[in-house]
């Protein structure tokens, strides 16, 4: 097994979530059934939901279970298609996750007006442009909390203040997939109306997501379900519950609740130690987003004169799992849209590697990683015609 440094892509299942899953496997009942097999599952789901609500500090009524973060984002954004024409104006950013960006493009094709706010070279959105883009007819503002590639955290409070001032009727949605579990969220006291969260980014399995809608009972009429059918999730999201996913997410949240303060500090220490070692040992690098507030585990580094996929594969062969913003790795032949938005230079994106540390990483792993990076970057630079 590799040392896993790709925790922004997905996380290993928390041991406590794993035992919760195993214990739960015998409870196969449908939570909608009236008999005892169903009722017992229903009871367990209520407990899990409470664990999740406690961890996120959200009201139980405001949590809707979905299949993933993408579904949560899609539900909010596509609701716009059913809004009155004058409210069909969306303001978002050009560094959103594809779950948001591609949905915005889909909306555009279907007559919705979309403004894309740009970011500075530290990965923070241009608040002046935001202010100018907002009008009383803005229906939805969708701005990600933390970026998946570079980890930068947007100034959510400032953004919310501007939205309230310039577009008092707009709904403020945030894709919080990369924030939940990495920093502390306090949904009740946050200034956005809706948020997307994904289970597998916080040590639960894939296939379970959350859509948070503040004051759900009052606000639900603003949104349109993607999936119609049964009465699950108060009729807002049909389909038999992903019971195992919910149980696991509850257990992961309960565990994180007691760990997170210590973990944030510990993971940040590993990341900072790693970045200092890189600066010390490898020249001609750029730490993308370094001057901004970032989630603690994310480090996105461009190694000049070499290409990301080569570095990724060299690290993989040496036992480390990372990801890259290089075009080569995606199959799309296009470099990371996030790094392009920051720097406007494809070569910076092509040479970028994302290291994302998580709860299973140890500071001791960094020294070995640095040793391999120094060696492999040197080899690749010797092959490269761009090296000085």
């Amino acid at each position: 097994m590799n040392v896993y440094l790709d925790n922004n892509a997905t996380t290993p299942i928390h041991p406590k979530a794993k035992s919760a899953i195993i214990e739960f496997l015998d409870f196969f009942g449908n939570p909608s059934s009236m008999h005892s097999d169903g009722r017992i599952v229903k009871e367990k789901l209520v407990i899990a939901k409470q664990q999740i609500a406690d961890f996120l500090n959200a009201s139980l009524d405001d949590i809707i279970f979905t299949s993933c973060g993408s579904e949560s984002n899609n539900t909010i954004l596509k609701s716009m298609l059913f809004w009155p024409k004058e409210k069909q104006n969306l303001v978002t950013t050009n560094i959103e996750h594809p779950a948001n960006l591609e949905t915005a493009k889909f909306l555009e094709k279907n007559g919705i007006k979309v403004s894309y706010i740009e970011v500075n070279d530290d990965g923070i959105i241009d608040l002046n442009q935001l202010e100018k883009s907002l009008t009383k007819d803005t229906g939805l503002v969708s701005i990600m909390y933390a970026n998946n590639e570079i980890g930068t955290i947007q100034p959510i409070d400032k953004i919310a203040k501007i939205v309230k001032e310039k577009a008092p009727n707009a709904i403020f949605h945030t894709d919080a997939v990369q924030a939940a579990g990495k920093i502390k969220l306090d949904l009740k006291n946050s200034p956005f109306d809706t948020a997307s969260i994904s289970g597998h980014k916080l040590y639960a399995p894939k296939g379970i997501g959350i859509l948070y809608i503040r004051d759900f009972d009052k606000k639900r009429k603003s949104f349109t379900p993607l999936i119609h059918g049964g009465h699950q999730e108060k009729g807002f999201r049909a389909g038999t519950e992903n019971t195992i996913g919910i149980i696991a997410l509850g257990a992961a949240c309960e565990a994180l609740q007691s760990e997170i303060d210590v973990e944030i500090e510990r993971i940040k220490k590993i990341r900072d130690y790693f970045e200092n070692k890189v600066i010390e040992n490898i020249k001609d690098i750029i730490i993308n987003g370094k001057n901004s507030e970032r989630v603690p585990g994310t480090s996105n580094i461009t190694f000049k004169y070499v290409e990301g996929e080569s570095i990724l594969l060299k690290l993989d062969l040496n036992g480390f799992s990372v990801s890259t913003g290089s075009a080569c790795s995606t199959g799309s032949l296009e470099p990371s849209h996030v790094l392009m938005a920051l720097h406007k230079k494809p070569e910076i994106a092509h040479g970028s590697i994302r290291f994302s540390f998580g709860r299973e990483n140890r500071i001791e792993q960094v020294d070995k990683l640095i040793e391999i990076l120094v060696k492999e970057i040197d080899i690749l630079r010797k092959i490269s015609p761009l090296s000085k």
Binding site: N2, S310, L313, L317, S326, G331, L333, E334, P335, P346
Partner: protein, 213 residues
């Protein structure tokens, strides 16, 4: 593809990637090549330099440098072995090497990798052209039909654009959707627009040519 080894490409690609052959380790001045070819650019994500030494029209030595992904490095390394074995390949044959020839040496490559990472044959042709140029000679092996490249990132030639136009891409946006032209570094966009307009003018003026009919 052997997933057990945790490797995404073929074993041949892995071997060339880990132990690349014939890299230029000294400066160009010290190596004294008879011809140098460069293709690609850092913005494209792939760039190759090929240096050749020629005697009696045989490439008896070839060195290279590559900026790019694993398959770009492996394909240049494989090419260098193909060209230099058995005392060196004749320039006439070397000039005719295709990406398919290189891929054969590597076992296989995913299709999306071929256009971007197998640039070695083009760099080699450029080096051969340079060899003749340095000698003030005409290259007798040059294909008369070789079409100039418009988009370096995706290796799209004027001929390619013409074909797309004939198949109904009558504006730049459609061309871009079909070929990705200009979507990486964007440097070629003005030139690409000029070329497509030329062909649209040529084939669609007075609507004489209708691709649907």
């Amino acid at each position: 593809m052997n997933n057990d080894s945790g490797w995404v490409y073929t074993e041949q690609v892995k071997q060339h990637f880990l132990n690349p052959k014939n890299i230029l380790t000294i400066s160009e001045e010290e190596y004294k090549p008879d011809g140098v070819g460069i293709v690609g650019s850092p913005a494209c994500g792939d760039m190759m330099m090929i240096f050749i030494k020629v005697k009696d029209e045989r490439i008896y030595d070839m060195k290279w440098k590559t900026y790019g992904c694993a398959s770009a490095i492996a394909s240049t390394s494989a090419l260098s072995e193909m060209v230099t074995k058995n005392g060196g390949m004749h320039i006439k044959e070397a000039y005719k090497i295709t990406p398919e020839d290189i891929i054969k040496e590597l076992g296989q490559l995913p299709s999306h990798k071929i256009h971007c990472s197998v640039l070695g044959d083009k760099a080699l042709r450029a080096a051969i052209e340079d060899y003749f140029k340095r000698r003030n000679e005409q290259n007798p092996y040059r294909e008369k039909t070789s079409s100039p490249i418009v988009c370096e990132c995706f290796q799209i030639t004027e001929e390619d654009i013409k074909m797309e136009v004939l198949e109904g891409a009558t504006n730049f946006e459609t061309l871009q959707e079909r070929t990705k032209i200009g979507t990486n570094c964007g440097k070629c966009i003005p030139k690409a627009k000029e070329v497509i307009n030329k062909f649209v003018e040529q084939y669609y003026k007075d609507k004489v040519y209708n691709p649907k009919s």
